[in-house]
């Protein structure tokens, strides 16, 4: 077995194009999902249980079913049932945004709920207006709890974007697969693609481990 990177080098522009789509999908879904997650989290914290119920059902059913199935449901199901054609790019984007929104809503919710009741009560006893209470007391504490799970959700987002190739969108993995089929060099292409995913994801994991380490130290102090 020989390891020949020649065909991979020839197709670097294609791989970079795929990488661009992977990063673009991730960035779009990170921002849109992060924004959409907030109203989802707040509506799950409403006092009226009948208002909470539909959101809870949506969130739980999303978390309890696999992402590939969501993708097939959107890409094939919508076209077959309603005649709405959603392009591969828009299908994967929709699925990633929705899943990120659901995961982020859980992160927001547990972050906000991690702020002890006593601290909230103390802030209102001190006479702080609602905005100041959130700005100076609740949010600084909640963000500390939200940050670590958010970094791991972001890594998961990059990983799920690799589903794009299932329905024919040309992301990094799909670019590698095309190269592997055309050149009969699966070892080289899949190894390079795996390393590229590692290179884009590892900094996030490293950052998250560092943050967690720092926070556990400050908690201990």
């Amino acid at each position: 077995m020989e390891f020949d990177l020649g065909p991979v080098v020839d197709r670097i522009p294609l791989l970079l194009e795929g990488l661009g789509l992977t990063l673009g999908l991730t960035a779009l879904a990170f921002v849109a999902g992060g924004l959409l997650g907030l109203p989802l989290a707040l509506s799950r914290m409403l006092p009226n249980r009948w208002l909470r119920l539909p959101v809870t059902m949506l969130v739980e059913s999303t978390l309890s079913t696999p992402v590939p199935l969501h993708l097939f449901l959107v890409f094939f199901g919508m076209t077959a049932a309603f005649g709405i054609f959603i392009s591969p790019f828009h299908s994967i984007l929709l699925v990633l945004v929705w899943n990120q929104a659901v995961v982020m809503s859980e992160n927001y919710r547990s972050g906000l709920q991690s702020v002890p009741k006593g601290i909230r009560a103390a802030a209102s006893v001190l006479g702080l207006p609602t905005i100041d209470r959130y700005r100076y007391v609740i949010l600084p504490l909640a963000i500390r709890a939200i940050l670590p799970p958010t970094t791991s959700s972001t890594v998961n987002l990059i990983k799920d974007s690799a589903l794009a190739g299932f329905i024919g969108a040309n992301d990094l993995l799909n670019a590698g697969r095309l190269g592997a089929t055309e050149s009969f060099r699966p070892i080289e292409f899949y190894t390079v693609v795996a390393i590229m995913y590692f290179v884009i994801s590892y900094p996030i994991v490293w950052f998250s481990d560092r943050v967690e380490h720092k926070m556990s130290r400050s908690r201990a102090a």
Partner: protein, 223 residues
């Protein structure tokens, strides 16, 4: 849509086969994952620097690359590299197992780290060996941290089996693709399979939360 639900009954044997494949993948991967995860967690605490480094590289690699990339890598590359034959099912089970091992080892590590060092010193001072210390002092307390995380990762594992549909292993998701191509009822079939997944996965999450709420007070390590 209603009349199609009656039609779905014709596909019951196919759904049943899909469910068996999904459960088989889950079971095998769980076994590899628990064994491999324990081994990796111990390697990371080993006195040998090289063992620690290799275990860390393995874990970080499996945590940072997509499961699908690992799947195609093991399906296409491993047979050529090692000159062996691997069926799609075997590749899927091995990949899920190796992936789980990386995540499970992190869970075990987090659990073990939760038990204060002083307790380990105390049990050494009492004359307990390394294995007895682990078995009677560390493990019971570590399980309070490990069990809820373990449940959450089991949910991820069952969802992970759906990625193996890429290799055309007839588990539930690939079965859904086949049935919807046969019946042209894409939406209904995917929704039906979604319900099956929900019934499989949701209770695991409920159980995990229950353990976290009820058990943790009892098993929390003494500080």
């Amino acid at each position: 849509m209603i009349e199609f639900l009656g039609e779905l009954v014709h596909y019951a044997p196919a759904f049943w086969r899909g469910l068996r494949f999904t459960l088989a993948l889950t079971g095998i991967a769980m076994a590899i994952g628990v064994g491999g995860g324990l081994a990796l967690a111990m390697l990371r605490r080993s006195r040998l620097r090289l063992a620690r480094i290799l275990a860390t590289i393995y874990i970080e690699f499996f945590r940072t690359t997509p499961l699908i990339v690992q799947l195609v890598w093991i399906y296409f590359v491993l047979p050529i590299a090692l000159d062996i034959e691997l069926s799609a099912f075997q590749s899927g089970a091995i990949t899920l197992g190796m992936n789980q091992a990386a995540y499970k080892s992190e869970i075990f590590r987090a659990g073990i780290a939760e038990v204060p060092l002083g307790q380990r010193r105390a049990s050494q001072a009492l004359g307990l060996g390394r294995i007895d210390t682990f078995r009677f002092v560390v493990l019971p307390q570590a399980s309070a941290v490990i069990l809820p995380l373990f449940m959450a990762h089991t949910m991820l594992l069952v969802k992970g089996t759906a990625y193996v549909s890429l290799l055309r292993v007839p588990e539930l998701t690939h079965t859904a693709n086949l049935i919807s191509l046969d019946s042209f009822r894409f939406l209904e079939v995917y929704l039906a399979v979604g319900v099956i997944y929900f019934i499989l996965i949701y209770p695991i999450g409920v159980l995990g939360r229950w353990i976290e709420n009820k058990g943790s007070h009892k098993w929390r390590p003494l500080q």
